[in-house]
Symmetry: C2
Subunit: 132 residues, 2 copies
Amino acid sequence: MLRMTRQRSAVQELLDRTDDFRSAQQLHEDLRASGSSIGLATVYRTLQSLAEADAVDVLRGDDGEALYRRCARESHHHHLVCKHCGRTVEVEGAPVERWADKVAEENGFVDVDHTAELFGTCGRCAGHQRTG
Amino acid sequence: MLRMTRQRSAVQELLDRTDDFRSAQQLHEDLRASGSSIGLATVYRTLQSLAEADAVDVLRGDDGEALYRRCARESHHHHLVCKHCGRTVEVEGAPVERWADKVAEENGFVDVDHTAELFGTCGRCAGHQRTG
DNA sequence: TTATCTGCAAACATTTTGCAGCGAG
DNA sequence: CTCGCTGCAAAATGTTTGCAGATAA
């Protein structure tokens, strides 16, 4: 059903060696830059199918742009993302899950999903800046 | 510096009597439908300035579309949104704030912001559906 | 072989912007 | 009166889609 093409493996391999969240367009540029000939539409289509298969995590940037990342853990988790360098740490969120459940119950909601992501400045980037 | 025009107050008044998160285009349609003549660009510009002034909350839908809502509380809070009818409850998130601080510290991040929103089915909508 | 994938370009949807005229202060 | 605001239409993004040809299985 899913064919393994040159393009598809190029995208997957790039994601495997990329640590931060990147847009479809950035990934397309990265691939072109590293010699892979691939169309932008193919990148979009590939990312879409990877996202559907839960093989990549999708985040929405401030401007609504979709950002993709291949995460190490398969189970539910959240992200701590550096606003400056994009470095991303996968984190557990047990307190968030408990909070979500409690709030849902208190308000008579069922089947409640949640999003929770953290954005800040990593130690490395903080070190490079003026101390303010 | 900010002029109070007919269009601007129309948008604000509409937001005041709207309970759920709505897109710029929906708000524009609502205004047109209720007889207000206003351009779509003006709605976008007004929402943008309201958002900058923290007078409205902005959320990103699944497709990246920006959704706006005038919230009762001025202080930091989160939302529990019904996926079916859009009904929205403003909720406190003390456990989330604590979690964010802790995770940030453990990973050497500073200046950490967070997003945390809940999406589910409200009691009213759950009642209307088959029990499964 | 053949159904799926690819690349391109055109279509789309949302949001932004340039500019001439309007109108709040 | 003046400068910011408005409306329109055009442009800029980001993403999706139609189709003819390429290709994995």
